[in-house]
Amino acid sequence: MAGEAVTVDATGLLCPLPIIELAKAARGREPGTVLTVVCTDLAARVDVPAWARMTGHAFVGEKKTDGGAVALTVRLR
């Protein structure tokens, strides 16, 4: 369903695993799906926007979580 929101927990994983998990979660989803990956790996803050650019999706933004992780959100196209 378009506009669906999905969250992927990638806390504790190091690069490139959070991005691999994000890509797996994106597979087969409708355009418009909002996908959030929660990471503790510092590289993900650079790599999620870069992944979105390289794969034609839109990076929405990042937010700190209460647990000290960062939640990075993309919208699939």
Partner: protein, 362 residues
Amino acid sequence: MTNRTLEAFHAGLADGWADPSRLHTESRRARQLLDASREAIAEALGARPEHTHLTQSPHAALERVIAGVFTARRGRDRIVASAVERDATLHAAHHVSGGRVTTVAVDARGHVDLDALAAEVEVPDVALAAVQHANHEIGTVQRLARVAEITAAARVPLLVDATASIGHGPSPAHWDALVANPADWGGPAGLGVVALRPQTRWLPAWPEGDDWAPGGVLVPAVLAAAVALQERRELLDATSLRLHGLVARVREAASAWPGVDVVGDPDERLPHVVTFSCLYVDGEALLTRLDREGIAVGSGSACTTSTLEPSRVLAAVGALSHGNVRMGLHPGVTDADIDRLVALMPRVIAELRAEAGAPEVA
């Protein structure tokens, strides 16, 4: 080091072993070798020998020139630096200014934002601006003529870190203070060079007065550095043209590999540096795999650093930081080496992706 550089080093050990600051015959000979070598290096940098100072490392050169120029700018206590300067520059700037450092963003190809730079240096608290000549990670060469126009209009001294570029292309023309690294042009490690314009003011911010290298520099190393630079300059046009072409081949090939991000400016760049990042690939595994194939490369990926932080330069240009490969082609690299690399990489990338359980890349 080449044979000629090694021979110079040996000759320096034979004739320049004495302390050049003393007055006996051997010392005077060492002093002559040191002065002649410094003169040759200064000439190659487009600098005056009397304003060219040797230090014990490129780091020491950056630290001393930042401290010296900053200290002469009394009442101004902020340092402006591009976001892609070396850690050594930013660390020295933070140390000297008590953390009053403003970084200026770069665009996706790594060029400093000139409007943002102009806005920063116009503020009258700026002591110094640091903009590198070329980036050692992604190869992008800054538009220094325009940068220098901006800093000159604001009467702010411009420090240019040329540690990645001297010996690989023309020396930069626009600077008030310049730092160079002899090891990067094929000279020995353990030396740094600072060149200042005659009008660039500085004060010794250290206890040894006007001595930029307390304890002295190794005279044979300075002689070898001068000879290495001379040798590089004789072959510069031919070598840099050839390497520029080889890098263009790697960049072109890599941009056709699926899920590969080629970083930096395709044209305004160092001739010998190429950087790309491979989606879903572990940088450390990639380095190990290439090393087994006899290909030594660097990486800016977080997993290859002790801090697990990705390269600040890759972050600044918005490039993918994982699966990063950084190559500096030395003058001995051949067409056949590049053929082999270009044939090998897609297979290696595909294998590492499969091992990591990564999805297909279109």
